[in-house]
Subunit: 259 residues, 2 copies
């Protein structure tokens, strides 16, 4: 009996036609059998949204030639759920998400559709990783990112991942000779300082665009932000048990009697 | 100089007219000055989505009488960001989200708009808590939930919360005399098993509704699922550092050289 090739599910949040996902498909296609299920339109900032108030569409597309590919009207998390339930006939050996056009380091992991696709796969028990290039440009140079993605994907296929853990990989906007290597990091303590852009529509009514400034308050040299600022790609292991175990003793000291 | 009353921001994901938020406002209004900024339409399942591809509307409404209230066209996370940047003139002392119509226990914390509003507030440094009643009905009985919400809110105002920690509070569908009390818990290890409902539209094309079954694989008696099944309200401390620190040694043993 011949050994099956690893089954690799690919998704993203920039949409199925984005250069980032095209580069990711190319980076991993020789590692196994690739199946793509990705949003039919950009879904940046969708976080871990799922679509429950309207139905979903799922349509086959031949844009990636002989690679089986579907575009879905839902969110990145929807894409993974549909792939698992309706497209794939066995559990994938690996799920890769991205390559995102723009950073998903630090607190951005929470807002990121790219990472929510990977997290949804991890919840399903599929070894999963999200890749993001720190360059928002449509025509960004994905060559270094593709090399990093291939190396990480190969590692996961060879060694697996610790239980209930996925990876958040960010790649700096550098060319190969400036690149220092890959570094395992923790999520930096940072946030967005909102600054809504207030405008007035042609009917005289106000509206707001979400803008803001990323503020890194973390001085550590073991964070993803430090790594990216110093020429490294960052690998942050991520889990989805959000319990703040360290806070439990304090909370157990509270008075909970209802009057 | 008179002491200022605590400033309490209220939001939710079921929309500003939902009975759950009305009950929450009533529960906390005597604890301080209440300001409401909530979605103008239901936003269940929005996870930590933010709106970046279209502008937001923010409109004052008098549905809560003398309580300052705004409805927003965005997600729960957008509501909190807009409240902080455009509505409030000082940092709130407390942010309360809900009361959600339906459970947000266990893995649902990731998909929950209710919890993402609270998490966004916590990222802003505001002590925050999300409340959910394990009853999806529009006309659910919120009386026990309101008592629990008031008690937890009072505790937070009196004692604060550990740094970078918010609370996920779920209340069982019980009447007061069946209720056993409030229990501090960890997030249960559970997942949704997808089962998309496949249908055909009047034009003969397939579409899918997301449905599924909640599967709790966690036998522990220290989880939120255990508490809710045994007559308790669950309080899970939640944090937004998703780093799986325990996985770092394994990942540091990998080969990361690019060929």
């Amino acid at each position: 009996m011949s050994q099956q090739k690893p089954l690799i599910l690919v998704s993203n949040d920039d949409g199925i036609t984005a250069p980032g996902i095209r580069n990711l498909i190319e980076a991993v296609r020789s590692l196994g059998e690739v199946v793509v299920v990705a949003p039919d339109s950009p879904q940046s900032g969708m976080g871990h949204a799922v679509t429950i108030s309207k139905p979903l569409r799922l349509n086959k597309t031949d844009i990636y030639g002989d690679i089986l590919a579907y575009q879905c009207s839902g969110t990145p998390a929807d894409c993974v759920k549909l792939a698992v339930d309706k497209v794939l006939h066995r559990k994938p050996d690996l799920m890769v998400s991205g390559i995102n056009h723009g950073s998903n380091s630090s607190i951005n992991v929470l807002y990121s559709g790219t990472m929510s696709a990977a997290m949804e796969a991890a919840i399903e028990g599929i070894p999963a990783v999200g890749f993001s290039l720190c360059d928002y440009a449509y025509d960004a140079d994905f060559s270094l990112s593709a090399q990093v993605a291939r190396k990480i994907a190969q590692n996961i296929l060879d060694r697996g991942l610790p239980a209930s853990t996925l990876l958040n990989v960010n790649i700096p906007k550098l060319v190969a000779h400036e690149f220092k290597g890959i570094k395992v990091c923790r999520q930096a303590v940072a946030k967005w300082k909102e600054d809504f852009d207030e405008r007035v529509d042609p009917n005289g009514r106000k509206y707001y665009w979400l803008t803001g400034q990323f503020v890194n308050n973390d001085k550590g040299d073991d964070t993803d932000e430090w790594a990216l600022a110093n020429g490294y790609a960052s690998v942050v292991p991520v889990h989805f048990d959000l319990t703040a175990h360290h806070a439990m003793p304090v909370l157990n000291s509270w008075d909970y009697s209802l009057s």
